[in-house]
Amino acid sequence: MREYETVIGLEVHAELKTESKIFCACTTEFGGEPNTHVCPVCLGMPGALPVLNKKVVEYAIKAALALNCEIASICRFDRKNYFYPDLPKAYQISQQDFPIAAGGYLMINTPDGEKKIGINRLHMEEDAGKLVHAGDDIARADYSLVDFNRSTVPLVEIVSEPHLRSPGEARAYLDHLKAILEYTEVSDCKMQEGSLRCDANISVMPKGSKEFGVKTELKNMNSFRALQRALEYEVERQIGLLKEGKEVLHETRTWNEQKGITEVLRSKEEAEGYRFFPDPDLMPLVIDEQWVEAVKTTIPELPADKKERLMKDYDLPEYDAGVITSSKSLAKFYDSCVGLYDDPKEISNWLMGELLRLLNTNNIEIEDSPITAENLVELLKLQDEGVISGSIAKKVFEEMFETGTDPETIVEKKGLKQISDVGELGQIVNGVMEKNPQSVEDYRGGKERALKFLVGQVMKETRGKANPQLVNELFLKKL
């Protein structure tokens, strides 16, 4: 059986979260009534001219430095010409021949250890508007409306080298890239809102081959999961074709989330020439070393450094540190908790376990978590002080998540305090022993497991409120 190797490169578009657009003073705010965040420039009116937003350049430099790129001392804007109703000037101002930055890398974790993924280039460009189709889809719509609010919102495009060798690596790359853009605060990176978008180039080749196979370009993957699924599907599809002795066609394919397949969007032969040429409305951009140095000082601790630090300062396992630092907000949440309560590993367990589980099932971002760092720490303290048991703590946690109430109030209101009174517990233990003579016999006869059952019965009777350690001790005494 022939083995195949996958080659993947990613093109990531991230919206920069500057207050105003890249070439005019309109707000970049998401949402808003259609066509209210517009002016002659972002509508492409005759006679209107672009003026470069300095903040955008600063953010692009920041992102590029965080991705270990070389910043060009002179870069240029080019026009990418094509007709589409959401593109008001019928050209997009982008950077083709002289991007602001190139030659970077980022590290990813793979089952075989750390791996360096090259970044070919990073460049600035403007976003297009948005079409709203009056129907279920573009094919069946009677008409389409254009909303230009997004037109001319700043983007950086980050193009990786074809160094990724599996959908998992692609996912890891995107995860890390997103974290870096979040940490540097240049982008919100919300895939659902479109502030982070990812296209993939993917090909397969016989293992050990020196020449890449024919690639396809994948579009329309609207979540991290979709990216991985689409790539996995495409790997199978391409290998399937090669095994049948067929050819992979050079084409652009779109991910169909419902069907879970990729479909042809257009063949590359149809692809138009964009007739790039330097935009005469914008002067070449000169970036001196001082500017780069100044931006460098604003770069905060990056995810990889933070991960190291968590492992060193808090003795966290690498896995924990990796999960917590993969998102800036999660890391921030963790920091707040650790500042209030000195049990880093316990906090990490709760974050990665209960909190992430509930957030994911309810599709809530950590920023919008109904449980605050203060409340989580409060809960852990109640548990630690023996006021509530571990199993009750989980129940309280769920209640906190649902209602946003603080744990003390919930414990108080629902009477969930742990029973630690030896007299009270002794009576319950006696009762359980009376009701389960067989188990008592079994234990005395040497079956250790019978004790677990008996403790369980006590917990059941007290609806989890009994202090399990005390119950254990009482049984041992009495048996």
């Binding site: 002659p40 509508l43 492409g44 009116m45 005759p46 006679g47 209107a48 001219l49 672009p50 003026v51 470069l52 026009r79 010409n81 007709f83 109703p85 008001p88 000037k89 019928a90 050209y91 254009v146 020439g273 007739r275 040429f277 005469p280 409305d281 914008l282 002067m283």
Partner: protein, 492 residues
């Protein structure tokens, strides 16, 4: 009152001395336009109502003793590719027949702030593409000197309106000679400022790396006065230079002793009418009499300027004019689907010359042509610029004819595009190099005006104006108009 011969200075004096108020003045101009424009056809749109409203405001301000701007009450005309708020800006194209810009071009805003009154929008070649104003979607404009001849182009309406006295001055735009060529054909003064001297915000682009707005006036002093009010950095145009704007009126000194004048022989070649050369040489003689040191020189790469210009300008235009797609403004042809809508809108909205240039530019930017033409053209452009730089190390100004011939007859060159383009031969190099250039009337050939072109260093408008002014002082007449027969006669 005959308003047709008024200069800015004279108009200001009339208003300042309260010999006439702004409303009376504007009414006089409007009635003169009504009387003459049925024949001249310089205006696409006369903005009577807005003009009178503005005049009333100025009269009110005078009554309440307010300080008035330097161009207060002086009527002007604006080429119809310069955006005017809530006033149709058509670019003389069917495509924009119904286009109302929601903003003023910076130049218009600045002139209005200085008190100027816009009388209307002036005819031109569609999207500034042409040399005779015959490419207007609307109608042809006549040369006020001879109704059978073109006024030049693309700012033909702007030049004809000034020459016929319908406005005191006007704004034109110049990408390859579109201010200077019609100004020369119509016997008026026209200045293409240095690239970056005047804001392009609100000028509908033809070729943004060369487009500049500039004044067309009756004399050099007026030219300086208008330039004073439109020049300077604009935060809305990053190609406008952020450098000092001198007082150009103060540059108007009748003294060019020791001024070093280069005479580039390529501009006096066999393509140029010997009679035109003769008038320009006589003008150079006057400069010499006034103490200028004149010397022949050479700009060897300027002979490539015309083809290089057509490559760069059409490439830029093919992209810049793509926004006229029928989606957001301008004309839209109904069609079954998106692509057909694009196609029929552009097929119906653009005239033949515009289509030709868009097609050419699109072709030249194609992947197999880009390096062969566009990249190469940029390199030659650098050589042309280097020639000028070298020349300006030795000379303060360069002098040449503005056009190879005087105004030609209607239809004469429409069927001969190569001949049509020849009329921009001598003006294009200045656009390639981004340097300022002015044309001043310097005599007649068979009753038609000839222009002398003076080119200067980047941002050296002061020197240009001083030389032009000195020449004007010693030319023998203040200014030439078709009604006075030029005053200069044939043989000056």
């Amino acid at each position: 009152m005959d308003v047709s011969k008024l200069t800015i200075t004279e108009t200001r004096a009339l208003l300042a001395d309260r010999k006439i108020n702004a409303q009376e003045l504007i009414n006089a101009f409007l009635s003169y336009i009504r009387k003459t424009d049925g024949d001249t056809k310089a205006f696409i749109n006369v903005t009577e109502e807005q003009a009178l409203m503005r005049a009333k405001k100025i009269d009110d301000a005078v009554k309440s003793g307010k300080n008035l701007g330097p161009l207060s009450g002086v009527p002007m005309g604006v080429k119809d590719n310069i955006c005017t708020k809530d006033i149709k800006t058509t670019c003389a194209s069917k495509m924009l027949d119904n286009f109302l810009p929601p903003y003023d071009a910076t130049v218009v805003e600045r002139l209005h702030d200085a008190g100027a009154i816009t009388l209307g929008k002036l005819n031109m070649d569609e999207f500034a593409m042409g040399s005779s104003t015959e490419n207007s979607y609307y109608f042809k404009t006549k040369n006020p000197w001879d109704g059978g001849r073109v006024p030049g182009g693309s700012s033909g309406g702007s030049a004809a309106a000034v020459a016929s006295g319908q406005v005191v001055y006007s704004l034109g735009s110049d990408t390859g000679g579109s201010i200077r060529q019609p100004a020369a054909f119509c016997g008026v003064v026209g200045l293409k400022p240095s690239y970056g001297r005047v804001s392009r915000w609100g000028l509908v682009a033809f070729a943004p790396s060369m487009d500049q707005v500039g004044p067309i006036t009756k004399n050099v002093r007026d030219c300086a006065l208008v330039l004073n009010n439109i020049a300077g950095h604009d935060s809305l145009d990053t190609t406008s230079m952020d450098c000092e704007v001198p007082d150009y009126e103060r540059a108007l000194v009748d003294d060019i002793k020791g001024l070093r004048v280069g005479i580039p022989e390529e501009f006096f070649g066999k393509g140029t009418d010997p009679a035109v050369i003769d008038r320009v040489e006589r003008a150079i003689g006057i400069l010499e009499e006034q103490g200028a040191i004149c010397e022949k020189t050479t700009l060897p790469n300027s002979k490539y300027a015309l083809p290089v210009y057509y490559v760069i300008a059409t490439c830029e235009a093919s992209s810049g004019l793509a926004r006229f797609d029928g989606v957001r403004f301008g004309c839209r042809s109904e069609a079954e689907d998106l692509v057909s809508m694009y196609k029929s809108t552009r097929a119906e909205g653009f005239g033949p010359e515009v289509k030709f240039r868009i097609l050419l530019g699109t072709y030249l930017l194609g992947p197999e042509n880009y390096d062969k033409y566009y990249t190469k053209a940029l390199k030659v452009r650098t050589l042309i610029r280097d020639d000028f730089e070298r020349a300006f190390k030795k000379y303060d100004i360069l002098v040449s004819p503005t056009t190879p011939t005087t105004a030609f007859k209607f239809g004469e060159r429409m069927s001969n595009p190569a001949a049509m383009r020849q009329s921009d031969l001598l003006t294009i190099p200045a656009n390639m190099a981004g340097i300022p250039a002015i044309t001043v009337p310097c005599g007649l050939v068979e009753g038609m005006p000839v222009g002398m072109q003076i080119m200067g260093r980047p941002f050296g408008e002061k020197t240009l104006l001083r030389a032009a002014y000195t020449y004007e002082c010693h030319r023998g007449c203040d200014y030439m108009t078709p009604t006075t027969g030029g005053g200069l006669g044939e043989g000056v």
